[in-house]
Amino acid sequence: MKSPNVAIELEGIGLTFAPESETPTIALNDVHCRIEPGKVTALIGPSGCGKSTLLQIARGFLNPSRGQLRFVEVASGKVTGRPAMATVWQAFNLFPWLTVIENVAFGLEVAGVSKQEREARARKAIGAVDLAGFERHFPRQLSGGMRQRVGIARALVMEPEVLLLDEPFGALDAQTRLVLQEQLSSLVETSGTTAILVTHSIEEAILLADKIVVMSARPGRIVSEIAVGLPRPRTFATTQDPEYAQLFDRIYGLLRDEVMRAMIIESEKADT
């Protein structure tokens, strides 16, 4: 696959949910950010600060109320169309009536790829997430970690230029998480795609990202952008690195205040 060359620029993005029955919620306000091609950008911030909303805006499933979303070809500096994207979901969102291989081949099928080719490509993607032999299983027959590996294979088989990961391991236990983080890290590295990773885990952000974007409590703004220079491949051993500890402290310091504010906002919301 050709290496990604389109940056995603968010300029003054704001979004207000205005359901008819309720008071409007300002989910995002004045977000400025640039997602570099071929890099992993982590979005971290308190619950409800608009991380998923931002991802949906980048995906084109939500329209921002204010501001501009641009796709820019890095070499020429020209604005282009939306690059191919695929999402990995926190709730997996696998089709329960389809087998593993049918789930993974779904995107190729709706794109009209021949049965023979899509099976071959799906099989390869399933092998890449270490699920060879489970092609004919149904999602309910798999553990949570295995299900999310199907989710990752289903996205990667599309060879997306941009991979969107919305708390992909949020529903998994700590051990499974660790293993999958390492696996995802190497998969993203070898595929070379641009990735946006939404996470609540500082550890996950540091292990996977080139840049960490810290967001404020609702309405979500960007508080800080932190580059992660730790060498790759990063594994569990990386967490012993003094630079890791430094980064962790810095992000935790930024987040703690925002999480406190978010808790106050949520409790006020509950009062009204």
Partner: protein, 275 residues
Amino acid sequence: MSPAGPLAEPTTKAAAPARKRRVWVWYNDERVLGWGSVALVIAIWEAAARLSGVSPLYLPQPSQIVVALFKMFATGGLAIDLGWTLWRIFAGFALAVVIGAALGVWIATSFRVRAIADMFIAMLYPLPKVTLIPLLIIWLGTGGPFMLTISFLGAIFPIVINTVLGVRQCDPGLVLAARDLGATPQQIVRKVLVPSAIPSIFAGIRLGLGVSIILVVAAEMVVGKYGLGARLYLSGQILETEQVFAVLIVLAALGIIVTKVQDYIDIKLGRWRLA
């Protein structure tokens, strides 16, 4: 605490059920209990009918009913009646399955169609469908079109309503995932909404077939010359009580077969049942 002697017994007793090989005892066998009690009731019935000397006009003996049943099949044309009834039920029902499922998907996916259909469903669904028989006879007569319509009307409401419910209960995450993978709106309907609604659609089909059977037999009792309902009614009129029972047996058997087939399909639909 009592000494070892009395204690030993409960311990061994408690250990017994844990052993793999269980001794077969007739009163622990589900089938023996089920079929056995049916056989017992029939035996008591037979004995009571014989001994009490009650007129077979009121209560024929089971043996007489079986004889009547065989006679009706052999020379009385009961097979033809059964064929008529089945044909009437399934023609309208099959039409209702196809149209009902399609209509249900359309209603579920289109706000405008839903707004319109909701009114009609709210008005027509609670109406007992047997009450439509007189009007339908005025409009359609008592022939094939009437039977087709009555069976169709019986089945279509549960099918439409359950299809709408099933489609609308689809996890929005699945729709989003399909969209993310590039599915068009039509593909989302065909490959996500409909499959996710299959268990619910099938539940509607089950209910619908039940109503179709009731309505067709009831309609045959009112107007039919052929069919199980007509046979039932005519036998009653001329006080052929064994024949009444014989037709009831055929109807019960039909119900059992339909239920078993549906159970079997339900098992086959296992992959659609969510995790």
